[in-house]
Symmetry: C2
Subunit: 322 residues, 2 copies
């Protein structure tokens, strides 16, 4: 599949796209977050939204219609809420692209344009949902109104894999054991982040920790931290902070400065120290989430090893009926 | 102030409004959430967004401009991030309405149209930010494209105060002590909710608990619960679930059914049992947040009393420099 060709088809069939809806559940929704974030920051004449699938269906936006592009992501291709959302969008007249790992799934039904992606540690970012959705968003902006950062973004998506490769080594040399051991002493901790990387703040909490490690924790936006959450900060309470490399970084820096003075348990993961300084500063904020995802994977694996709790272990998901 | 008159002025000056941005920090952003939610569900030709103030300024949306209405809420009227956001929006050409409790604040500077609201337990919902923003949104939809639920919403905003009055008594009779005592045994718990009420799921966590009670907890969307977070559920772990009365309720019901079988510590707050059944079902989901806010206030007060931790106590906010 090719983002440029798909967007050409979309525009040929629909004319101008007025609204994009990114739809998924949990990790799949998280993967679409940077594309939604970028569209809203960079497009002057395209609205973009992101919804967890079931809320989208139950509270179907009135502007959803013939001039909408709906991008649904489901790794299994059969997530019931996401399949239902894709059908609801189709019925409303939208152009529906499904992104899935499963070529023989409900998401690859003929009524959808399906992008089937490979999966594994060595698959390049441009071929997985976070990259695919960024590319679709970039091509849409470029096609409809021109996107001055188009080339920079494509280059950044290509470069991020090199950054990630080195970051994996560095995090395992310097941080993974520190983090895993911290979990022994901290039955609960907070994770902070901002910007498009906030998707992986949330993702670290709900996927890597809660789902894969049964570890209690909570996500807080670095900018929101000072409007309530910081009152709970004190020595003995662990904070993990993801420092973005882009425009929202100063929120992370402000939170970090406060945390340094108010807790003795702090883990800092700075995207700039993990190689993001090598990416064009005009677009790197949209790739921070890919870096943090890779780092999150290493951290959860290290915790899994120390706790003898493999990251594949589930007690409810796809085991019980719910 | 009068929402209908303000929106008439907005349209007279700007012509058609294409995009609304709701901007605030913490509790003030939370108050604007139902209006943003309603606009996106009910308007066919108005886009609406909500941002924490600093992220809005740092990642200023390209579509912000002359045809934008920016509604900024700051209780003190001097929240630096929100004041900065109001100025950034004004510079971008938007019509800026500020909603504040402080008539002599930076938010009431002459370049903004300011709505100064009273505050206190007995102020009606239509006069406080959550109601004001809903009314502004309703008037905007009505003026630009017609809003079939306009009258029902106005009536519901009027009725909700009666529901809240009774709910306060009921929660203190039945739940406040149970909740406060639960906090003694649970240094950490989860709060679930959905729809426009999710604003008060988040609000209960970051304002009522973290800020006002130094209580660790975490907010989870009822629909997202099954896509990661539920794996952490087990006996001995406390969950508080806010059951909405509107279209997203079935996500809450699904989460509740699972919780009943997987934890022995569960507190259910059902909007329908607190009087929301008396409100028109086509609009009541937009008022659930007002009900939950009132309940949250009673719950935190009860906890404050039991823990001898008054809800006004702060150790950092407006005390330290940050």
């Amino acid at each position: 599949m090719n983002a440029n060709k798909i967007i050409s088809k979309v525009i040929k069939e629909k004319g101008r796209i007025r609204t994009v809806f990114f739809i998924g559940c949990g990790g799949s929704m998280i993967d679409l977050y940077p594309a939604n974030y970028m569209l809203n920051a960079e497009a002057s004449d395209i609205s973009s939204y992101i919804y967890t699938s079931r809320e989208f269906v139950l509270s179907l936006p009135k502007r959803l219609g013939n001039d909408s592009l709906v991008i649904v992501c489901s790794h299994s291709g059969n997530t019931p809420e996401s399949v239902e959302a894709a059908h609801a969008a189709k019925e409303a007249g939208a152009y529906v692209i499904t992104i899935t790992h499963n070529k023989d799934s409900k998401c690859t039904a003929p009524e959808f344009v399906s992008w089937v992606y490979p999966w594994g540690d060595d698959v390049k970012t441009e071929y997985v949902p976070v990259g695919i959705s960024l590319l679709l968003a970039a091509e849409l902006i470029e096609a409809q109104e021109g996107f001055a950062k188009h080339e920079a973004l494509i280059k950044a998506i290509d470069q991020i894999d090199g950054v990630i490769g080195k970051a994996r080594l560095k995090v395992n040399e310097e941080l993974s054991n520190v983090f895993a051991n911290s979990c022994k002493e901290n039955p609960f901790f907070y994770v902070l982040g901002s910007g498009s990387a906030f998707s992986q703040t949330y993702g670290f909490v709900i996927c890597s920790m809660m789902e894969m490690q049964w570890q209690n924790c909570c996500h807080i936006h670095s900018g929101e931290y000072f409007h309530g959450p910081f009152e709970v900060t004190e020595n003995g309470l662990l904070y993990v902070i993801q420092m973005s490399s882009g425009k929202t970084r100063e929120m992370d820096e402000r939170a970090l400065a406060f945390l340094r003075g108010h807790t003795d348990r702090l883990i800092v993961i700075d995207a700039l120290e993990y190689g993001m300084d090598s990416i064009d500063s005009s677009v790197r904020e949209y790739l921070d989430s890919s870096l943090f995802y890779a780092i999150n994977c290493e951290l959860r694996a290290a915790r899994g090893k120390l706790f003898n709790h493999p990251v594949e272990t589930r007690r409810y998901m796809d085991i019980e009926k719910y």
